[in-house]
Every structure is written in structure tokens, then in C-alpha cells.
Amino acid sequence: MLSFYLAALESGGGREMFAEIYQRHHIKMERAAIKILRDQSAAEDAVQNAFMQVIRHFEKIYEIPCEELPFWLISIVKNEALMLLRKRDRTATLKEERFPGGAEDVSDYTALVELFRSLPDTYRRVLEMKVLLGYTDKEIAGHLGISETAVSTRASRGRQLLREILEKEGFQL
């Protein structure tokens, strides 16, 4: 099946679709990369690496709802930018960040979203890569430079936090 989608990229139609995705979303991706790296050359590398990932996983494009696609792409470029940042400054993303509490302060959906937005970067990246991008623990560990155990711990803490809030507040989503 993958070869079918990759073959689509060899065809005119597949290339047009890819070009359209690029035209629509590259500016947001570039902005996300430069915001993290604050260096033009490194940001260009991150954007190029992100598009390599998009091409490699082109089959996933067909599964992603249109409204979610920009966030899928931004998430990819952020990961690539963080990888470059990690290479440049190994301490930047390797430091252990404490998982925050705060479940008790969440009383509505907006507060829930705000809580997840304020999670430490290393936790959010793990959750985004696992839930949005569908990466394996091994892939995430490689990207973030942490152990697979750390990936699994962070993902389960994130899920546990969400489950607690949903059960406490009884959100119907």
C-alpha cells in the first residue's frame, strides 16, 4: 500500500497534491522552525527535514482530516527543529522537566486545552508525536534523545492526567 502512495508522488496528480500542501502550509512551518531555532540556516534545515518526513509518510496525508493537516505538519517541523536544537545544544532538551499538576484547576474545556498547552515541551512533544503523528516509542526516543522508558512514562502521565480530568469533570467530547 505504501508503494502505491509513493508511486502517487511519481505521478502528476500526486506531485500536484504535494505542491498544493507546500504552497498552503510552508509559511507556517517556516515560522515554527525559526521560532524554535532562531537561526535561518538551521530553520531551513528543519523545514527541509520536515518535508523529507512528509514525503516518506505521504500515505498518512490521505488519512488526516483537512482541518488537522496544518497541525500535523507543524508538529513534524517542530520535532525536526528540536532535533537540530538538541544536536546544537545537548542540554536544551535533555534536561528533565517536572510533570505539572493542575488537574484540580480545570473546570472547562478551555482550561483543559490551556493546561496541555502549558505542559513542558518534552511532554507535549512526546504526546504530539505519539498521538498526532503515530510514531513508535523508539522513533520518539530517537528524535528527542531520551530513552524509550522515558517516552513511555511521559505518554502514560499525559494520558493519566487527561483521564483524571475527564473523569472528574465528566466532559462529554
Binding site: I34, Q48, K87
Partner: protein, 235 residues
């Protein structure tokens, strides 16, 4: 609530938190694409898969792969062409150097190793380099070292046997004879700044053809080559 339901909600929460973040984005540095980046993006849009393949295969990797591919491609051809008797095969030189055009080809002969190849490593690594990749095949080992800047140093070695060939393009290299320890070798000095130079030598007793490469001067590569030793820890 099942894990699938939880992940569905998590997906929504994460996307909404990304939306929120985007809305509140401050004015940071502006992305101003260089000419090189624009050229690359144009190439990517013209042929995404071709561009990807090109990016995935840096030049040093191409050279290594080329050697590996020749192992397979030449296998049948050379096996047919070189019909030596067992006695003659034992006595013969295990390699021949040919120079077709801009290439130097090392064509090997002899039996394939019945055992797994020993594992070697560079013990005098330049500061900051660590082993990141070790590709092991029955007759060929490729070890990559990288530093934090992404600079690459490689060590590879091949068991010399009939059907194998290592090819090296010298269109961008000046060639010098050197001695690695007490073994004769060849230094291929890259003419273009930023391209890798390579040092090759053959250890006849081990029946191995070694090479190390990177953006280093001859003396540094010689020092690196002379430090190649059996791994202290199993790989």
C-alpha cells in the same frame, strides 16, 4: 473509557492547544529563505521522490553503497571469469588494482570468510566524535562516527574475496602512497574544501581492506588509521 477514546480526545486537545499557541504567537525572527533553500524547494516540488532519494544518500554513503552493491553485481561475473584452480587461488595475490578512467578499482579474489567478520573501531577518535552507526554484513562493515556539528568520520573494511570489488572515484582527489603502521596504503586527498579525504590500506594477514575517511588532513587520518583496533566491547 477505552484507550482509543482517550487518544481521540487527546488528539483534539493537542490540536486545540496548538491552535491556541498559534493565535498567541509573538513576533519572533522572520524566516528569510536563502537562494540555496529556494533552489532546494524548487527541486523538491519538481520531483519529491527524486529529491528525497538524493537527500538520503550523501556522497560518502554513495561510495560505501557502491562498494556493497558491487559485491552483489560482480559476484556472478567474476566467479565465471576467474576460474582458478584451488592451489593457484591460495598462492595468488588477493587483490588487483585497476584504473578505468577516473576510478581506482580494487578487485579481490580468494575464498569468502567462513566466519563473521571481527569488529574493529577507531580508538583515537578526534574530540567530540562518537560512534552512531555500525552496519555489519557478512563481508563488509561500515562504522560511522559523528560529532555534535554533524561532521562525519567513517571506518569501513571489507573481507577480500572473489566476487567483491571496491571502487573509488578520484576525479576530485590527489593520490599519495603512504604507510599505515608498517602496511602500504593510499591517501586520497580531496581537492574540494569540505569534501572528505580517504585513507585505504590492506592488511594481508587479516585479508581485510580498510578505509577511513573524513574532512581531515593526511597526518590526522594516518593517526586515526593507526589507532584502528579490535573492539574491546562486543558490538
Amino acid at each position: 473509557m477505552t484507550d482509543q477514546e482517550l487518544d481521540r480526545i487527546m488528539r483534539r486537545v493537542l490540536i486545540d492547544s496548538m491552535k491556541l499557541e498559534e493565535e498567541g504567537e509573538d513576533k519572533g525572527p522572520v524566516f528569510e529563505p536563502s537562494l540555496r533553500h529556494r533552489r532546494r524547494m524548487r527541486a523538491m516540488l519538481a520531483n519529491p521522490l527524486g529529491w528525497l532519494r538524493g537527500r538520503e544518500r550523501p556522497p560518502w554513503r554513495q561510495a560505501v553503497r557502491r562498494a556493497a552493491v558491487f559485491l552483489v553485481v560482480c559476484g556472478m561475473t567474476l566467479a565465471g571469469a576467474m576460474a582458478f584452480s584451488p592451489a593457484a587461488r591460495t598462492a595468488m595475490v588477493r587483490w588487483v588494482v585497476e584504473r578505468p578512467g577516473n576510478d581506482i578499482d580494487y578487485v579481490y579474489a580468494g575464498e569468502q570468510s567462513p566466519e563473521a567478520l571481527p569488529q574493529y573501531e577507531i580508538t583515537a577518535l578526534p574530540e567530540g566524535f562518537v560512534e552512531t552507526i555500525r552496519d555489519i554484513t557478512p563481508s563488509f562493515v561500515d562504522v560511522i562516527y559523528e560529532n555534535e556539528s554533524g561532521d562525519i568520520l567513517y571506518l569501513d573494511y571489507i573481507y577480500m574475496h572473489q566476487g567483491a570489488l571496491t571502487s573509488f572515484n578520484i576525479s576530485d582527489a590527489d593520490v599519495f602512497d603512504v604507510t599505515v603502521g608498517q602496511l602500504p596504503g593510499t591517501f586520497f586527498k580531496a581537492r574540494t574544501p569540505g569534501n572528505m579525504s580517504t585513507l585505504r590500506w590492506i592488511d594481508q594477514d587479516l585479508n581485510l581492506h580498510f578505509s577511513v575517511g573524513g574532512c581531515f588532513e593526511k597526518d590526522v587520518l594516518l593517526h586515526i588509521a593507526e589507532s584502528v583496533s579490535l573492539c574491546k566491547t562486543p558490538k
